[in-house]
Symmetry: C2
Subunit: 107 residues, 2 copies
């Protein structure tokens, strides 16, 4: 993981930004649930009982803005809306798994 | 990485806490520099030119409080103080490497 210092100072803001974004309350858990596959809002809300709908909506919007999650609307009756991880979102699995492994061992 | 939801809601606060702690400005870079081996304060300050001494002192204190960094005082003349990663700190290398790999690919 030896990266030249110049590179580090370029990468670093992104690195810090990613870490603090993923550290936001519920963010990791939402991504974790979506790693199981696409979910409707109410599935997500049921999977994460303690999160309020308002916060869940906010987090999903942030995840969408960062292209980590896709929101798909199925024009059925009633309309069905599903949230799924993009490739960029799914790619977080390893990093999150490593932080979780570390957390389980040391915290 | 399939962890039962009950487990997740226990792990999660620690997971979030770790992520947001590592997301603090300069934290990742300081750990990165210390992954190369023990450093004196001035070595660290020189390796990370844009961080102020005050913030560097603060971050090192936080890292010490969380037992990620050891501060060793050598009773020489003049006294020599070195900062080094604990095993717990060194164990972060994989997680940080994965987040960095993700950041380089997607950000």
């Amino acid at each position: 993981m030896k990266v030249k210092m110049a590179e580090l100072s370029v990468i670093c803001p992104k690195f810090e930004e990613t870490f603090s974004f993923l550290g936001k309350k519920w963010m990791g858990l939402i991504i974790d649930v979506l790693l199981d596959g696409p979910k409707r809002f109410k599935d997500l809300a049921e999977s994460i009982p303690n999160v309020s709908d308002r916060v869940l909506v906010e987090r999903l919007k942030e995840l969408e803005e960062r292209e980590l999650v896709d929101r798909t609307v199925y024009p059925e009756t009633p309309v069905r809306v599903e949230y799924s991880l993009t490739e960029k979102g799914r790619d977080l699995e390893k990093a999150m798994g490593e932080v979780k492994t570390w957390g389980e061992k040391w915290l």
